[in-house]
């Protein structure tokens, strides 16, 4: 029997100011942020209230229910998840770029990347907690395209999870649309030693 899929909604996205600055290209700790750039960041941030629609979908499979890819080896269960911030922010970036507002577009893009990451982090925490409730040990979060889990495995994730139910689809080149989406797995282990997670 197919495992149930669940949604995670009502996630609140908070931003790490330093990470945003790094994403828009400020690499040095000693630099002083110029007033016009500061103003643009705060203006773009204000738009986020109506541009972000954070949501995740996940399922938790028994190992036997998975496609038994080697990355699942040793796991008792595997959680698969797709997170997104929705399509609106990307539409806005496109408009800014066509208006030649490149800096605003870069700032909004960076805020979107950070928001997508934040949605994935919060969903990851919820799933790790579910592992603990099952008396299992969660691994860290891994996405297709990293380590031994090839990007092509996105197709497997999307064959298990109905991405379209949260508005995310996969292109032929395994790209998620909206782009500000994250897919990942967490292995749940019986043996604490197999878990790569500290807490």
């Amino acid at each position: 029997m197919a495992s149930a899929t669940e949604k995670i909604e009502n996630l609140k996205v908070e931003f790490d100011e330093k990470r945003i600055l790094r994403l828009i290209g400020y690499k040095s700790k000693s630099m002083k942020l110029k007033e016009p750039v500061k103003k643009l960041i705060s203006e773009e941030k204000e738009k986020l209230g109506h541009l972000l629609h954070p949501v995740s979908i996940y399922t938790i499979l028994d190992y036997e229910e998975t496609n038994k890819h080697p990355v699942f080896n040793g796991a008792e269960k595997v959680a698969l998840c797709i997170s997104t911030i929705g399509p609106d922010l990307e539409k806005d970036i496109k408009e800014l770029m066509s208006d030649n507002e490149m800096l605003r577009a870069l700032i909004l893009d960076s805020l979107g990347s950070e928001a997508a990451e934040e949605v994935a982090i919060q969903s990851d925490r919820i799933l790790a907690e579910k592992a603990r409730e099952m008396d299992l040990w969660p691994s860290k979060r891994f996405s297709p395209g990293y380590g031994k889990w090839d990007i092509q495995e996105q197709r497997y994730v999307f064959s298990v999870l109905p991405g379209e139910s949260i508005g995310v689809r996969l292109t032929e080149s395994c790209m998620m649309i909206p782009r500000k989406s994250v897919s990942f797995r967490i292995n749940f282990y019986k043996d604490k030693e197999l878990s790569t997670r500290k807490k």
Partner: protein
């Protein structure tokens, strides 16, 4: 105000990213029938060169580069109708065909590179995102281009960069057309492996690589 003062103010407007000043000075230059080539080369272009220098010294970061490039673009668009009318051509550092490989719709990084190249005197034709591989080569031949810049943000689409170079090899065009690659999964090693002429880790690095290749 002397010509030298005006040129210095143009340079400063670009360095400081002051768009209003850059546009106002461009309009004044037109009204006063100044030598536009001189205005571009000794005023605005010097500003953008200095911006590159400040970036190299770690004093400027990407947001300042973008702001200055936007100012440069605004000033140049004021000159464009006059330059076309008089058929005067500002000195081009080379013609560039740029785009994101097919299957990939990421375009902000590519747009930044295009914008920086334009600000630094390259003649840029942007094919957009999700561009068919053959299209890059066709357009480069059609436009007699010096460079093809290929952006790929996915491990699946970066293979397309390799294929474009293969198409150029098949057509014996690798000496004439230089290929620059970039994108999150791309690095110097990949660029070397596929026989690209250059790799730009970021928008300004791409400009530097193109400048070096165009001098070479």
């Amino acid at each position: 105000m002397s010509k030298e003062d005006t040129l210095a103010r143009m340079e400063k407007a670009i360095i400081e990213g002051n768009k209003e000043e850059a546009e106002m000075l461009a309009k004044e230059a037109l009204e006063e029938k100044m030598d536009l080539l001189e205005v571009i080369e000794k005023g605005y272009a010097r500003g953008i060169q200095k911006v590159g220098y400040l970036w190299e010294r770690g004093e400027y970061f990407l947001p300042e580069l973008i702001t200055s490039a936007e100012c440069m673009k605004a000033a140049m668009s004021i000159f464009q109708p006059e330059l076309e009318k008089t058929q005067i051509q500002a000195q081009s550092r080379g013609k560039v065909i740029i785009g994101t490989i097919e299957g990939d719709i990421h375009d902000i990084g590519k747009n930044l590179v295009a914008s920086m190249l334009t600000a630094n005197g390259f003649d840029v034709i942007d094919l957009g995102a999700d561009v068919k591989l053959e299209r890059f080569v066709e357009k480069a031949e059609e436009e007699d281009a010096d460079f093809i810049c290929l952006s790929a943000l996915l491990t699946t689409t970066m293979l397309g960069q390799k294929r474009v170079i293969e198409i150029l090899k098949e057509k014996n065009l690798t000496k004439k057309i230089k290929v620059l690659v970039g994108g999150a999964p791309v690095n110097q090693k990949w660029a070397d492996n596929i026989g690209a002429d250059g790799y730009g880790e970021n928008a300004m690095a791409a400009v530097k690589v193109a400048q070096n290749l165009s001098r070479g």
